[in-house]
C-alpha cells in the first residue's frame, strides 16, 4: 500500500504539474508533492522497520533494509531540493534565463525523475529496473538542456548518447542474466525477479553470469560515472540548472550504483569467487585516482564538485567491491553522507553563482563578505566533503580506509594519496572563494527573491550528527543492509 503511495505521488505530481503549467503556485505544488512523497516514504520505512521486509503486488515490488534506506534518502533529498529550487528557479526566471514554458517542463520532469528513481529502488524485476533507469536518463535530458545555451545542448546530447549507449549494454547484460535464470526458473516474468534469483543464485550458470556482469557493470557504471565512462557527468552537472545538478549528484548516481550492487549480489552467489568485487574495486579505485587528479584543473565551480562526485562514487564502489560487513556498512554510510553533503554544496554553489552571475571560480571571490550564510555553507560543505572531522564523511572514509588496510593493503596508499590530492585541489579553490577579496569591479546584484537557506543547513547538520553519533536504530539498519550486500 505504502509502496503505491510512494510511487503514485511523484507520478501524479508530474501529471498535475504538466497540466498546471506556469500558473501561480506551480513551485509550491512541486514542493507539496515532494513533501507527500517524503511522508509516504517515511511511512514505508517505518512499516519495514516494524514488520521486516515485504514483497507485494505479485512479487513485482520488494522492500528490504537495503532499498528502503535509499528510498528514504531519495525522497528526503528530492524534497529539500524542491524547497531549494522554489526561489532558485524564480530568480533564474527573473534573470531572464527561463521562460514560463520551460519552468513547466522543469517542474513536471522533476517529479517524473523522482518517480523513476523510486521505481528503480522499489522494483523487484530486473527488467523493470533497467526500464526505469533508462527512463531516469530520459527525464533529465531536457532538464540538462533547460537553458538552451550551446554548452547546455552539447552537455545534454553527450548525456543522452553516452548514457543511452551505456544503458544498452546493461540491457544486454539483463538479457544474458535472464538467459541464465530461465534455465533454472523457467521462462516467464518470474525469472527476472530479484528475490527469486537471489534464492537460486548458486545454480546460475557461472560463465554466462560473469559475461552478463561485465555488460551490466559497463551499463550501470556509465550512469554511476565510473572512470573511464564518466565523460558525460561533469558537463551535465555544470550546464544544467543547479537543482538538477544537486539531484543528479546526490541521487541518480546512488540509484545507479544500487542497481549495480543488486546485480553484484547475484553474481557473487553464482560464482563463489571475488570476480565481481575485484572488478568493482578496480573501477572504483581508478575513478578515485583520475577524479582526484582532474580536480585541480577545474575552473568552473560546478565542474569541480562534479569531479568530486566521481571521486566519491569511486570510493563507494571500491568499498562495495571490497565487501564484508565493515566495508559495506561504510559504503552505505558514505552513500548517505555524500548525497546529503553534495546536494548541500550545490545549494550553496547555486546561490553563489546566482549572486556573482558566473560559474567561473576566479570570478566568485570573497563570499564571506558578500553573503556570509552562503559563504559558511560552502566552506562547511567543502570541509565536510573533503572528510574533515567531525563530519560524517570522515567517519565513513575512516572506516573504508581502515578496512582497506586490513583486507586490501595495496590499495590504501593509493586511496590516501588521492584523497590528499583532492583535499589540496578543492581547498585551494574554495579558500579564495570564501575568504578572498570581493571583486570590486563587479557590482553585486540584489537577488529578486530570498534564497532558501534552510535545506543547506539541515543537510549539513545531519551530516555533522552522523559524524558524531549514529543513532542505534540507524546503525542496525545499515548493518542489516550491509548483510544483504555481503
Amino acid at each position: 500500500m505504502e509502496i503505491f503511495l510512494v510511487l503514485g505521488s511523484p507520478l501524479l505530481g508530474g501529471v498535475l504539474l504538466a497540466l498546471w503549467g506556469h500558473r501561480a503556485r506551480a513551485a509550491e505544488l512541486n514542493v507539496a508533492m515532494s513533501c507527500i512523497t517524503f511522508l509516504a516514504a517515511a511511512l514505508l520505512t517505518w512499516r519495514v522497520i516494524a514488520n521486516g521486509p515485504m514483497i507485494t503486488a505479485d512479487a513485482q515490488f520488494a522492500v528490504d533494509a537495503l532499498n528502503v534506506f535509499l528510498v528514504a534518502l531519495t525522497a528526503f533529498v528530492a524534497m529539500t531540493t524542491a524547497i531549494f529550487s522554489r526561489p532558485y528557479m524564480r530568480i533564474e526566471a527573473a534573470h531572464g534565463r527561463l521562460t514560463d514554458g520551460r519552468l513547466r517542463l522543469y517542474h513536471a520532469m522533476y517529479q517524473l525523475f523522482t518517480f523513476t528513481m523510486l521505481l528503480v529502488l522499489l522494483t523487484n524485476n530486473l527488467g523493470i529496473l533497467w526500464v526505469a533507469t533508462e527512463a531516469a536518463t530520459l527525464t533529465t535530458v531536457l532538464l540538462v538542456s533547460l537553458y538552451r545555451t550551446p554548452a547546455s545542448l552539447e552537455a545534454a546530447w553527450k548525456y543522452f548518447i553516452l548514457c543511452g549507449v551505456g544503458i544498452a549494454q546493461a540491457l544486454f547484460g539483463t538479457i544474458l542474466l535472464y538467459f541464465a535464470a530461465e534455465r533454472v526458473l523457467g521462462a516467464g516474468g518470474d525469472a527476472l525477479l530479484w528475490t527469486r534469483l537471489s534464492a537460486v543464485s548458486g545454480s546460475l550458470e557461472p560463465t554466462v553470469i560473469s559475461i552478463a556482469f561485465v555488460f551490466l557493470l559497463v551499463g550501470y557504471g556509465t550512469k554511476v560515472g565510473l572512470v573511464p565512462l564518466h565523460n558525460w557527468l561533469p558537463d551535465a552537472h555544470a550546464e544544467g540548472p543547479t537543482p538538477v545538478s544537486a539531484v543528479l549528484s546526490g541521487l541518480l548516481l546512488n540509484v545507479a550504483l544500487y542497481a549495480l550492487v543488486r546485480c553484484k549480489v547475484l553474481v557473487d552467489g553464482s560464482l563463489q569467487s571475488p570476480f565481481a568485487g575485484n572488478l568493482l574495486m578496480g573501477f572504483g579505485l581508478l575513478s578515485v585516482v583520475v577524479a582526484a587528479f582532474f580536480l585541480s584543473r577545474q575552473r568552473d565551480i560546478k565542474r569541480l564538485f562534479a569531479y568530486s562526485s566521481i571521486e566519491h562514487m569511486g570510493l563507494i564502489t571500491f568499498a562495495f567491491g571490497m565487501g564484508g560487513p565493515i566495508a559495506s556498512f561504510a559504503g552505505l554510510l558514505h552513500m548517505t553522507v555524500h548525497s546529503l553533503t553534495k546536494s548541500a554544496i550545490f545549494f550553496a554553489v547555486g546561490h553563489a553563482t546566482q549572486k556573482a552571475g558566473t560559474q567561473i571560480i576566479d570570478e566568485i571571490q570573497g563570499l564571506m563578505k558578500v553573503n556570509p550564510t552562503v559563504g559558511w555553507g560552502l566552506l562547511l560543505g567543502s570541509l565536510a566533503i573533503l572528510g574533515m572531522p567531525p563530519f560524517g564523511v570522515f567517519a565513513s572514509e575512516f572506516l573504508i580506509l581502515t578496512d582497506a588496510m586490513r583486507h586490501q593493503p595495496w590499495a590504501t596508499p593509493i586511496l590516501l594519496i588521492s584523497l590528499a590530492v583532492a583535499f589540496a585541489a578543492v581547498i585551494s579553490k574554495v579558500q579564495p572563494m570564501v575568504f578572498g577579496h570581493p571583486r570590486t569591479d563587479t557590482p553585486l546584484k540584489r537577488l529578486p527573491f530570498t534564497p532558501a537557506q534552510i535545506p543547506l543547513y539541515v543537510h549539513l547538520s545531519i551530516v555533522l550528527m552522523l559524524g558524531l553519533y549514529i543513532p542505534p536504530p540507524l546503525a542496525e539498519w545499515y548493518r542489516q543492509a550491509a548483510r544483504l550486500i555481503g
Partner: protein, 227 residues
C-alpha cells in the same frame, strides 16, 4: 537426449531464421556504408521488418504466444512509427538530402569485420548452453549491436547517430529472441515505451540544436573541453 538431438539437426525453420539473421547482418553493414540519411532510415525500417519476420518465425516454430506480441510491438514501433517520425523529422529539419562526407568507408568495413569475428567468439560459450532454435544467431545479434555502435562513433551528424542507436536496440531485441525466446512481456513493453519516449525527446532536442546552431552537425557540439 533425443529431443536435444532433434533440435541440433538444422531444421527448415532454424535455417530460415539463420537466413534472416544473415540478412540483418548484411543490412547492418549496408547502414555502416550508407552516407545518405534518407536511405539510412529506409534501411532501418527494413531491418525492423526482418526482425519482425524472424520473431514471428521463432514464435510459430516454438508456439510461444507472447512472442507474437513481441513481433507486433516490433512491427508497429520499428517498422512504422519510428521511421515515420524520422521521415517527418528530416523533412521538417530540411536534412533530407544530407550526405555524410567525412567517413572512410573501407576502413570502417574492415573494423566491422573484426567486430563480427569478435562477437562470434564472445557468443560461442553462451550459445553452446542455449537450447533455442535460434541459438546460432546470437553471434550475429552481438555483431549487429557492435556494428551499430561503430556507426554511432563514426558519424558526425545527429540523425545517423540516432539511427545507430536504434539499430543497436534492434540487435538487442534480436539477441533476446535468439538466446531466450524474448524477455518477459512487461519488460518488453517497458523497453518499447522507453524507445518511443526517447525518440520524442530527441525530436524536441533536434529542434533545439537546430535553433541554436543552424545545423544538425554535432561537430558544433565539441566545445566542452575535457579538462
Amino acid at each position: 537426449m533425443s529431443s536435444t538431438q532433434a533440435l541440433l539437426a538444422p531444421s527448415l525453420p532454424s535455417q530460415l531464421i539463420n537466413l534472416l539473421a544473415a540478412v540483418m547482418l548484411l543490412i547492418a553493414f549496408a547502414m555502416l556504408a550508407q552516407r545518405r540519411v534518407l536511405t539510412l532510415i529506409n534501411l532501418f525500417a527494413v531491418q525492423g521488418l526482418i526482425l519482425t519476420a524472424s520473431t514471428l518465425l521463432v514464435a510459430w516454430t516454438t508456439s510461444q504466444p507472447h512472442l507474437y506480441w513481441s513481433a507486433l510491438i516490433t512491427l508497429v514501433l520499428k517498422v512504422l512509427v519510428l521511421p515515420l517520425i524520422l521521415h517527418r523529422l528530416i523533412r521538417k529539419l530540411n536534412v533530407k538530402w544530407d550526405v555524410e562526407t567525412l567517413i572512410k568507408i573501407p576502413t570502417t568495413m574492415i573494423v566491422g569485420i573484426v567486430l563480427v569475428i569478435l562477437s562470434f567468439n564472445l557468443a560461442l560459450p553462451i550459445s553452446a548452453l542455449s537450447g533455442t532454435v535460434a541459438r546460432g544467431t546470437l553471434g550475429i545479434a552481438i555483431a549487429i549491436v557492435l556494428l551499430a555502435f561503430l556507426m554511432m562513433i563514426t558519424r558526425s551528424k545527429a540523425v545517423p547517430q540516432v539511427i545507430g542507436f536504434l539499430a543497436m536496440e534492434n540487435g538487442l531485441f534480436f539477441a533476446a529472441t535468439s538466446a531466450t525466446y524474448g524477455m518477459p512481456m512487461v519488460v518488453e513493453l517497458g523497453i518499447a515505451l522507453d524507445v518511443l519516449i526517447g525518440m520524442v525527446i530527441l525530436g524536441v532536442f533536434f529542434f533545439q540544436i537546430r535553433e541554436r546552431f543552424d545545423s544538425l552537425d554535432i561537430r558544433h557540439l565539441e566545445k566542452l573541453k575535457e579538462d
